[in-house]
């Protein structure tokens, strides 16, 4: 049998707990999924109606409803993938921010790397055909900078120091 004192304590604790929950959980959605969690999923989706507007920033009434839908599904325990699949079922593939990798869509992922590789190939080919077999040894130059103006000045400096040339005023 629980003593009276304990019962009172228990009741007090319960009330205290409820009070705390009521005061701090002042958000409209109570203890459910946070707006941030909703936004994280919405970031990967696009507004089904407006063109090219991500769902987490779309301000229209319809988008607010869709975010509420995500919130509802999250509260019901759906995973991110399930929610995204639901949206695709309802609204089609274009609601996803990245085209799903199936069918024709492979082309979008394959073509850019293929094109860049092809370009690199062209570059290598160009190098080969534009090189002359008898290219001389690479010029060894003193100093790091290859700026012709700087080289000219350094050559002048060298000439001045070594030859004692009073080569007039430079301009």
């Amino acid at each position: 049998m629980i003593s009276l004192r304990r019962r009172w304590l228990g009741a007090l604790l319960c009330v205290g707990f409820l009070l705390t929950a009521w005061v701090t959980g002042a958000r409209a959605q109570g203890g459910g999924p946070t707006d941030d969690e909703v936004n994280r999923i919405a970031k990967g989706l696009y507004c089904p109606v407006c063109e090219n507007v991500p769902l987490d920033v779309c301000p229209t009434q319809a988008c607010i409803q869709w975010r509420a839908l995500i919130h509802e599904k999250l509260a019901a325990g759906w995973s991110e993938q399930e929610i995204k699949d639901y949206f695709v079922d309802q609204y089609g593939d274009r609601v996803l921010a990245t085209p799903p990798a199936r069918g024709l869509n492979w082309l979008i992922y394959l073509l850019p790397p293929a094109a860049i590789l092809a370009g690199a190939g062209v570059l290598v080919g160009v190098h080969r055909s534009w090189r002359r077999a008898d290219s001389g040894p690479p010029t060894e130059t003193v100093g790091a900078s290859q700026d012709p103006y700087v080289k000219r000045m350094e050559a002048e400096l060298l000439a001045r120091r070594s030859g004692g040339a009073d080569a007039g005023e430079e301009g």
Binding site: A26, R27, A28, Q29, T34, D35, D36, N39, Y46, E51, N52, V53, P54, V57, P59, G92, D93, R94, V95, L96, A97, T98, P99, G103, L104, N105, I108, L111, P112, A115, I116, G119, L123, V126, H127, W130, R131, R132, S135, G136, P138, T139, T141, G143, A144, S145, Q146, D147, Y149, V150, M153, E156, L157, A159, G163, A165, A167, G168, E170, G171
Partner: protein, 685 residues
């Protein structure tokens, strides 16, 4: 009356432009210099004519002539006068006239030079610019007429037409619909003009390139003549893009500045080819190589400029589908196809006479690194273009619409941008001609070693994201190498001419403006890259509904919701403005006023963020919803954007760098004489 005069003026300008094009071509082919001169005068005449038309539109806008369809669609009684003026480019019709005005102006400016050495270019430059102008004017005259009036048709519907249709009555609305609220922001006022300036000025190098192709002038004269144009065009385009980003950040309310929207990409693509072009023409000027490639680049830039012009009509968000579904979409498509194919055909027919002195001695020579630079830019272009076009193809072939979002672009272009950053660190140390890996390595090892301090510092500061560490390291390398170049040059001058270091720096840049101006631009790019890495990789956000007095935490920031006020403003909008106080690490750093404006006429809401900006980060607060004050509270979405202000700073450095690079060398003749003298003196010594 004014509308009729305005329309007549535009129609007249179209005729003059057509005459100019035909006369120039005919005069060139049949060797009639008199006809060419007449064509030149016609070209110069288009500018005052179209200025009159533009003034007519502005007059109609400012005086509120709502019986004109365009005026009713972009102005309203409640708008302030200065905004009514900017409504000139607030809608499709007006922005086409604005574009045409710029084209006429630039064509005239391009013709104001001494043509003695390049007489054969003139008729073809006139031809290309006037054909382009005529295209845009014909769109205005036949499709998107800003002077068309509103009529009430017999069946009750409304239509716009220049002259009274049968059975229709004139219609004068009491008020206009007003400029799209999104466009009423200072950034939006300069962004379209800046972008259009960039677009239109790229037509001039294209015109000269076509002239070179037609006349068979296979040297790089056309490049030298348009050097400054290309640089200025590039600057305007870059600024236009940056301003567009700033506008999106300030007004569109999603905490970012670039969403990889097809409209943004359409304006970005000519920038990519334009930047590649800026670099590869240097190779042609120095070594006579890549003549075909430079032609191809400028042809692509022109085609992309025309494409971008349509898609970016005054910055109102639309998409590639609007290109397809509008009446003038097919016209643009036709014009782009014809000019692109004709230019290509011309290039192929002149292929042989444009052979370059194509010799590449080393993979590590500067020419080779420029080629790599071009490959990377073209790679980014392919990614962007493919991402924009693919949804159209998917719809056509598979019947399935898809959306290509930022993740695709970021992942695909990220490594390419990194490659470009790396090149910015290596290429300045490379040499034209023969240059071995050892040579380059010898120049590179010191800055590279020092640059390793950056990733070490980053790791020490707790940074763990490898992409950010790599990015910062590359930035550090590029900065070090660029500053090193300045240092070496200034030091050499200092020793040689015994100038103080600051004066040496000044004269160094002054003597070799393009190179050192270019380095300053590189520094600007690098500064922007710092900001981009900061916001793209480290942005954090949170959202919550707060009752009055409640707090929200994001990183080191704590934000308290203080109050909300709702009121109406004289320019016809309802404003809900919240006051929030922001604390950082316990200290009060300021109050912000995020607000939600609702424009009655346009029935459009706008979320304006309250932002606290420092160099370290931006604390960005959006009011996303509210209930009457007594009840639930307000919902806030809060972003923390580290380093984002470096993006705007980088833009300022761009301007400085381009000013240095493009500044005319007034004393070039005197300088040449002095160099000759010192060279002779050296030979003698």
């Amino acid at each position: 009356m004014i509308a009729n005069l305005g329309f007549l003026t535009i129609a007249l300008t179209l005729l003059v432009a057509l005459y100019g094009a035909v006369a120039a071509a005919y005069g060139a082919i049949n060797k009639r210099p008199g006809l060419v001169e007449s064509a030149r005068r016609a070209m110069v005449l288009t500018f005052p004519l179209i200025s009159l038309a533009a003034i007519a539109i502005i007059t109609l806008l400012v005086s509120g002539q709502y019986q004109i369809g365009y005026v009713a669609s972009v102005t309203s009684e409640a708008m302030p006068a200065y905004l009514k003026v900017t409504a000139l480019w607030g809608g499709q019709e007006g922005s086409l006239v604005f574009w045409s005005w710029l084209m006429a102006g630039f064509a005239t400016a391009a013709s104001l030079r001494r043509w003695d050495r390049d007489r054969e270019f003139l008729p073809w430059v006139i031809f290309v610019t006037m054909v382009t102008l005529a295209f845009f004017l014909s769109l205005v005259v036949f499709f998107e007429n800003p002077f068309a009036r509103l009529w009430q048709a017999a069946d009750g519907g409304q239509l716009t037409a220049m002259f009274q249709p049968a059975g229709a009555l004139p219609l004068t609305p009491a008020d206009g619909r007003g400029l799209n609220p999104l466009l009423r922001h200072p950034g939006m006022i300069i962004h379209p003009p800046m972008l259009y300036l960039g677009f239109v000025s790229f037509v001039i190098p294209y015109a000269f390139a076509m002239a070179a192709l037609v006349t068979g002038r296979s040297d790089d004269r056309w490049i030298r003549l348009t050097r400054r144009w290309t640089l200025i065009a590039w600057l305007f385009l870059s600024l236009g893009l940056i301003l567009g980003g700033r506008w999106a950040y300030d007004v569109l309310g999603w905490g970012g500045y670039w969403g990889w929207d097809p409209v943004e990409i359409a304006a970005f693509m000519p920038w990519l080819t334009g930047t590649a072009f800026l670099h590869s023409v240097m190779v042609q000027e120095k070594r006579g190589m890549l003549k075909h490639w430079n032609m191809a680049l400028i042809i692509m830039t022109y085609a992309l400029v025309i494409f971008g012009t349509f898609l970016t009509r005054s910055g109102v968000l639309s998409s590639v589908h609007s290109f397809a579904q509008s009446a003038i979409g097919p016209m643009f498509f036709g014009f782009i196809s014809v000019t692109f194919l004709v230019s290509l055909a011309l290039l192929i027919s002149r292929w042989r006479s444009f052979r370059g002195d194509n010799e590449l001695h080393s993979f590590f020579s500067r020419e080779s690194l420029f080629l790599l630079n071009n490959l990377l830019f073209m790679g980014i272009l392919v990614v962007c273009f493919w991402g924009v076009i693919f949804p159209l193809i998917s719809e056509l072939v598979a019947g399935q619409k898809v959306t290509v979002g930022p993740a695709f672009y970021e992942r695909a272009t990220g490594p390419l941008w990194a490659g470009l950053l790396l090149l910015m660190g290596i290429a300045p140390l490379s040499a034209y001609g023969r240059s071995s890996a050892r040579n380059l390595g010898r120049s590179l090892w010191k800055p590279a070693a020092f640059s390793l301090l950056v990733p070490l510092a980053a790791l020490a500061a707790g940074l763990r994201l490898w992409s950010a560490i790599a990015g910062f390291w590359l930035i550090g390398l590029a900065v070090l190498v660029t500053l090193y170049e300045f240092w070496r040059g200034a030091l050499a001058r200092h020793r040689l001419h015994e100038e103080s270091l600051p004066k040496a720096l000044w004269n160094l840049a002054g003597r070799n403006r393009r190179r050192y101006g270019g380095y300053v631009i590189h520094l600007g790019v690098v500064v922007m890259a710092i900001g981009i890495i900061g916001i793209e990789l480290f942005q954090s956000e949170t959202q919550g509904t707060l009752a009055q007095g409640e707090q929200l935490t994001l990183g080191p920031y704590v934000m308290t919701y203080e109050s909300l006020a709702e009121f109406n403003t004289p320019d016809d909008r309802q404003v809900a403005r919240a006051v929030v106080s922001v604390y950082r690490d316990g200290r009060h750093v300021g109050d912000l006023y995020p607000r939600r404006d609702y424009y009655f006429l346009a029935e459009q809401p706008m979320t304006i963020p309250g932002v606290r900006s420092t160099l370290e980060d931006d604390f960005y607060v959006l009011l996303v919803g509210w209930e009457p004050i007594a009840a639930e509270g307000a919902t806030f979405k809060v972003y923390r954007n580290p380093l984002v202000n470096f993006v705007w700073l980088g833009g300022l450095v761009f301007i400085l760098g381009t000013a240095v690079a493009a500044w005319p060398a007034a004393d070039s003749a005197a300088e040449r004489r002095r160099l000759e003298a010192s060279r002779a003196a050296m030979a003698g010594a």
